[in-house]
């Protein structure tokens, strides 16, 4: 860990003034030094600093900024929460359980109880991938501005099975899988004001920029997250499979949001986590369910379609079967 300056930002505006880079920028510009970056609970950031992956000059704490830890729900506007809302807060919220079951499942199955109590949702969406090459001081990989992706020929058992050509890191947030399924939006605040965009547009593929998993700008922070009101009859579920049942990262996770009319599925949103560099919509599977009565057979067929076109790597063929199963089971659990 390097020596750095620590400042508590009094307001969003001040924080934006003080910061000069995102963590991804600080990593690729390491040789220039002078990075001023923001911190929430520090769960991910301190890990990166300790491993020597990022060495900021200044760390700006957002935690004490008033108003960023509010959560609201009403039937007119849906769910909205600030970036400092913790995972535990979401996991324990009754309205979330009632209305956004998949989000409840995703938050309740993320990390450990201790981490859920600290970790914030802003930080969760901005955390960096768990790829062991990216996390290792000894591997200067594409994501860190190097010119090799070690996972291509290396130990890729936990990597992606879609969009693997450039950098097959999977997005580390398993909660994002559920958020994308609910069409969540993020509000970003920067020097020029605020912008709102779908989480699915906020996340970006390596093709766009391999060093970064989203399009947050150097002086932008997440200031709000919203989930729309759901149509009546909407049902959802989420399943995550880790190597362990006790706290673990996702080998594969699936969120399913179904708008039902009686026994019929009107529309479906199915999202795969830890399958691709970003949470991935399984559009063919979604299309299959549209207008049909959900049966076990149909759910299994959706599972098949969800992995169509996958390009598994040397050590992760098992993920195909895993996602087939998780898609099927989540659909059946949702209805």
């Amino acid at each position: 860990m390097n020596r750095f300056e620590y400042i508590k930002a009094p307001s969003v505006g001040e924080a934006i003034k003080m910061m000069n880079s995102t963590v991804p920028e600080a990593i690729i510009n390491a040789n220039k030094g002078g990075a001023h970056i923001v911190k929430a609970a520090g769960v991910d950031l301190l890990d990166l600093i300790k491993e020597g992956v990022v060495s900021p000059d200044r760390v700006i704490d957002l935690r004490q900024i008033p108003g960023l830890d509010k959560l609201n729900f009403d039937q007119q506007n849906g769910l909205s929460f600030g970036p400092m809302v913790t995972i535990a807060t979401l996991a324990e919220n009754k309205e979330v359980y009632k209305n956004y079951r998949a989000l409840h499942e995703a938050t309740a199955h993320a990390a450990t109880p201790q981490i859920r109590n600290m970790a914030t949702m802003g930080g969760n969406l901005m955390q960096r991938p768990r790829c062991w090459y990216f996390r290792s001081e000894g591997h200067h990989c594409l994501k860190k501005g190097g010119d090799v992706c070690f996972a291509q020929k290396g130990q890729n058992q936990l990597h992606a099975i879609f969009d693997t050509q450039i950098c097959p890191c999977v997005h580390p947030s398993s909660i994002a899988t559920a958020l994308v399924a609910f069409d969540a939006k993020v509000e970003l605040s920067g020097p020029d004001g605020k912008r709102n965009l779908l989480l699915s547009e906020f996340f970006t593929l390596p093709e766009a920029n391999v060093t970064c998993e989203n399009n947050a700008q150097s002086k932008e922070i997440i200031t709000n997250i919203t989930l729309p009101v759901l149509k009546p009859g909407t049902r959802s579920f989420y399943i995550k499979q880790g190597q362990r049942e006790s706290y673990d990262w996702s080998m594969g996770d699936v969120a399913v949001v179904l708008e039902m009319e009686g026994k019929q599925c009107k529309t479906a949103r199915i999202v795969l986590g830890a399958a691709a560099p970003v949470p991935m919509r399984a559009s063919k599977a979604e299309a299959l369910l549209k207008g049909k009565t959900i049966t076990e057979k149909l759910a299994a067929k959706a599972g098949e379609l969800a992995v169509e076109g996958a390009t598994p790597m040397e050590h992760n063929h098992y993920k195909i079967q895993l996602f087939k199963t998780l898609v099927k089971r989540s659909i059946l659990a949702a209805v």
Partner: protein, 813 residues
């Protein structure tokens, strides 16, 4: 026993060149309990030295020994009063930190430590030329181990993480900064980290010349003078149980059924709660060491030899210890470095490894590839066993797969060839039942396959081929508790299939005769026991208190236990499951001798014979005249000296040893039953339940034994399903060197565990106790593997049994 192979077989944990069995001036004959209560308990007569205490009755006739007894130091541990090595703070203490190799194989062209030396707060910098702990090349001028700390040679780097240089500074942070200031120019060389690749012709060589290694553990492999070709060293064709037997080819010819299989096990890294570490305080009159070690005397002996000090000038202290599973013997590279830095700086130096260093440099269970072939007659009689194994302990030796195939079942034709394969990876070390855990995974699956071919239940078949009375009882009691009722393999309906399996474990009964203790009775009635033996978390302190209390008619909490300090008489190392069996007889004998001195004084006062006196419930009384009675405390007040004291060492086993001065008759048997659920759509295995039946001679403290069994089973679950050192072949790094990505079993992975402790008397010593730590871990993975087979009807031949392997076996992928 058949002809032992020609070369010398090194006994584990025992000095090689010592006198054989001991003769006694006077002997007596005593009758001791022998066998298993409720099964075959009898008495046996042994001729023992005249100063041995009388035979100890079976447990239910005793008041302290054999009773569930709370740890006497539990209160200090839970309140934080217990100080572990990592808690030690000394005035002026500095913090040590290593510069470690970023390359799997390299030469150092140049190294410049001047900036580190100039860095503010740095007191000393030192370059380590040869790392203790790994194999050492003999004929390039490094005559191990005495030269290991010389400054003038630059080390050849053979794995990522190998120590290069150390820094001592006023804080951990400053030390880390200084390490980064050391400039090194490397010449990188080709490397190999994979077992199969390393065996190929033309693979990069780890050692150019022949190597040897000092042994610390109970592993097979690594014998002195073995052959070496390329990265392959061996074979080992024997163990302390002897060499090849009979004619194996003939045996196969005469077999009706032959089964064979190739089994693979992974590298498991040590993950003790407390990492390796030392605080070294070099003073002109004494070198004082605080160490997280399994053997205080091994640290003292290493350092005395390396730094040319008499044994009397090195003191090693391990008051509390945060766990060790075989890798914490000797000074270690960090210990040598801490001492050099302390000597150079004139300050105490603390050097604790961090988790990454722990997992990459501080020892691991080597992996294995085992080709096992067994031939049997139609009636199931074992005709021939043939074992070939390869395994890598990285730059170290001792990757054998133990002695289970050789010794668990009777088979007159046996042959094995166990090879070490060098790779550019951190050195292996002993690890909870080294070798036998790997070997058991193969043997016990193949025995199940034979049973199936013979159409026999796995337990019924073992009843037939297993000579061990202990395991016979364990199978019976275990099957009852478990509710052993097996479906046809793969016949469970549904997606999540349940299955049950059983496997047996085997571990030698090893004794360390260099185990001594002093018992001291003070005026006023306080009693102390003192020994260099350490309590590594197993509860050694508590069993010592129990044994002394039993002898003196007191309570365990009346005894003050002072151990873990080489100032006291040497104790055994805590490895090989030797501790309880080695130190408790010494403790009881010392207590008995001190008691005789006290009773001698009382007898003089009361004008009775010593033999007429005894101690019970805090009192001394005459058996012939019960009105003659005095409390123990009052009696001590009348002692002629302020203290009475006696020291005793572990005598030979009553009835002698099976091999050398260390290997006893009897084995430590175990039988474990597992129930699993296998999700056939995801490949995920869950262990639901384990019943573990174990023997450890006379059980001294069932509460602590249960803890050991629980721990062994949990570790076995981790080994079976989760843990794996993942090496990147392209860069030579361990990519999961942290406790996030290296998967240990946590709360939800732990099955429901039930224990059965068999009380078994072998009449081997004055306490007749044996160890339990290692046996607890031997059979678990094999039992789980057999249960998985029973659930899904296909066998998994490789550990850990992760979803990808299960799905592949089911041919889903």
């Amino acid at each position: 026993m058949a002809d032992i192979n020609k070369k010398k077989i090194v006994l584990p944990l025992a000095p090689n060149e010592e006198f054989g069995s001991v003769k006694h001036l006077n002997t007596k004959k005593i009758k001791l309990p022998h066998g298993i209560p409720g099964h075959n308990l009898t008495e046996i007569e042994r001729e023992v030295s005249a100063d041995e205490p009388p035979a100890l009755a079976v447990n239910d006739q005793l008041s302290v020994v054999g009773k569930r007894t709370k740890r006497i130091d539990a209160i200090y541990k839970v309140t934080g009063a217990a100080k572990y090595t990592s808690d030690i703070q000394l005035p002026g203490m500095l913090y040590g930190k290593f510069l470690r190799s970023p390359h799997p194989h390299a030469k150092i062209k140049s190294i410049d430590v001047s900036a580190a030396e100039r860095h503010r707060g740095v007191h000393a910098v030192h370059i380590l030329s040869v790392e203790p702990g790994g194999a050492v090349q003999r004929d390039n001028g490094h005559d191990a181990p005495a030269e290991t700390y010389h400054v003038d040679k630059l080390p050849v780097l053979r794995y990522v993480g190998q120590p290069i240089a150390g820094v001592a500074a006023i804080s951990d942070k400053v030390a880390r900064e200084a390490v980064q200031l050391i400039k090194v120019e490397y010449e990188t060389l080709p490397f190999v980290v994979d077992l199969d690749e390393a065996m190929k012709k033309g693979a990069p060589l780890v050692f150019e010349e022949k190597v040897e290694q000092q042994q610390t553990g109970g592993d097979v492999g690594g014998e002195a003078g073995a052959g070496q070709q390329g990265n392959l060293r061996g074979p080992s064709i024997g163990s302390f149980y002897g060499g090849p037997r009979g004619d194996v080819d003939q045996g196969f010819n005469e077999s009706d059924i032959v089964v064979e299989g190739e089994f693979r096990t992974q590298v498991q890294t040590h993950c003790a709660l407390e990492t390796h570490g030392i605080v070294a305080d070099w003073q002109t009159n004494m070198l004082t060491i605080y160490a997280s070690t399994q053997s205080t005397k091994s640290v003292r002996n290493d350092l005395a030899e390396l730094f040319d000090l008499p044994l009397s000038k090195v003191r090693v202290i391990t008051e509390y210890m945060g766990g060790g599973f075989g890798a914490k013997f000797g000074a270690g590279h960090f210990g040598v470095m801490a001492v050099v830095l302390s000597k150079k700086s004139g300050h105490p130096v603390k050097l604790m490894l961090d988790r990454k260093e722990e997992q990459t440099t501080a020892g691991n269970r080597p992996n294995s590839q085992q080709m096992l072939k067994i031939g049997v007659k139609k009636d199931g009689t074992l005709q021939a066993i043939d074992l070939t194994s390869y395994g890598t302990a990285g730059i170290g030796l001792g990757a054998g797969v133990g002695r289970v195939a050789q010794d668990m079942y009777t088979c007159s034709n046996f042959r094995m060839a166990q090879y070490d394969v060098f790779t550019h990876a951190g050195p292996g070390a002993a690890f909870r039942a080294p070798g036998n855990v790997q070997g058991c995974f193969a043997l016990e699956q193949l025995i199940d396959e034979i049973a199936e071919k013979l159409n026999l239940d796995p337990l019924a078949y073992r009843d037939k081929i297993d000579q061990s009375e202990i395991r016979k009882v364990e199978r019976k009691k275990g099957a009852e508790k478990f509710g052993w009722k097996r479906k046809q393999p793969g016949s469970d309906s549904g997606v999540v299939k349940k299955g049950i399996g059983v496997a047996q474990g085997h571990w030698p009964r090893i004794i360390h005769v260099d185990s001594s203790a002093t018992v001291r009775i003070n005026k006023g009635g306080s009693v102390e026991i003192m020994s260099g033996v350490q309590d590594i978390g197993t509860g050694t302190k508590t069993i010592l208190a129990q044994v002394v209390a039993e002898e003196l008619g007191l309570k365990a909490e009346d005894i003050t236990v002072k151990i873990g300090d080489t100032t006291y008489p040497d104790g055994p190392g805590s490895g090989g499951s030797v501790t309880a069996g080695s130190i408790t007889p010494a403790a009881r004998n010392a207590a008995y001798q001190a008691k005789m001195q006290l009773l001698g004084q009382v007898a003089g006062g009361w004008q009775v014979e010593i033999a007429d006196l005894d101690m019970e419930k805090g009192e001394i009384f005459a058996k012939s005249d019960t009105s003659k009675r005095m409390s123990f405390v009052d009696a001590t007040k009348k002692m002629r000296t302020n203290q009475i004291m006696a020291t005793a060492s572990r005598p030979d086993d009553y009835g002698g040893f099976e091999v050398g001065n260390a290997i006893g008759y009897d084995r430590l048997g175990s039988v474990q039953f597992a129930e699993v659920s296998v999700d056939t759509e995801t490949g995920v295995i869950k262990v639901d339940r384990v019943v573990a039946a174990h023997s450890c001679g006379r059980p001294l403290n069932p509460l602590q034994i249960e803890s050991q069994i629980n721990g062994g089973v949990i570790m076995g679950v981790g080994y079976a399903l989760y843990e794996d050192r993942i090496m990147d072949k392209e860069t030579g790094y361990m990519v999961n060197a942290n406790l996030d990505q290296y998967k240990l079993p946590y709360s939800k992975e732990i099955p429901h565990i039930e224990n059965i402790i068999i009380e078994q008397y072998g009449a081997h010593s004055s306490t007749d106790a044996s160890g339990i730590g290692e046996p607890a871990n031997v059979a678990t993975a094999a039992a789980i593997a057999n249960a998985v087979y029973n659930a899904i009807g296909v066998r998994i031949y490789e550990l850990p049994m992760t979803p990808d392997k299960v799905l592949a076996a089911l041919q889903v992928i």
